[in-house]
Symmetry: C2
Subunit: 110 residues, 2 copies
């Protein structure tokens, strides 16, 4: 219950993708003239992007938008992994955790 995790997550994911602030902004559809300033303001926590802007950034970085709002590091990592699972596997995992699975342990398809 504190400040937004957006700046930290943005920096993590941008660096992992080896993109500059400006290039990431341009790829996310921000005007070339303001991409550098805006992305820097987001990453330094000076201003917060709206959900649509962050969704476009997420698409470029191949992470789910919700990742940027996640404070717990384990959950943040997990969200990226889940984002790369098939929908059927995501559902299977959810069922298992809800205790509604008949199998004694969770197992993904090979």
């Amino acid at each position: 219950m504190s400040a937004s995790p957006v700046p930290k997550r943005l920096k993590e994911a941008r660096q992992a993708a080896k993109l500059t602030q400006e290039r990431l902004g341009i790829l996310a559809g921000i005007d070339e003239e303001s991409a550098s300033a805006r992305m820097n303001q987001y990453e330094r926590g000076k201003h917060e992007p709206d959900f649509l802007t962050l969704s476009r950034i997420a698409a470029v970085l191949e992470v789910p938008a919700t990742y940027f709002y996640t404070e717990d590091n384990d959950v943040a990592e997990l969200l990226i992994l889940l984002h790369r699972l098939l929908p059927a596997d995501r559902r299977k995992l959810a069922q298992y955790l809800k205790g509604e699975s008949s199998s004694p342990a969770f197992q993904l398809e090979p």
Copy 2:
């Protein structure tokens, strides 16, 4: 990559907790005078709360703040379940999904 899922998730979680818009706002620390209007604006998607406000609402509803930003329904459910796991179990699950676990299947402690 569209409009924010905040209104929808807010309504889901508030109704599950059986709270009125105004009461939820007050419990989250919003001034009594404006709690009703603000919570309604959030739930109808007229305005978007900042992360800190949403974190306080999340605490009242016992869900993680990131839940409100999650578009995928399976992932949204999963985030609530994970939020109620012990940190050790969250980590164990993350390790399993990363393929770094030696055991053939994931298993929580009894």
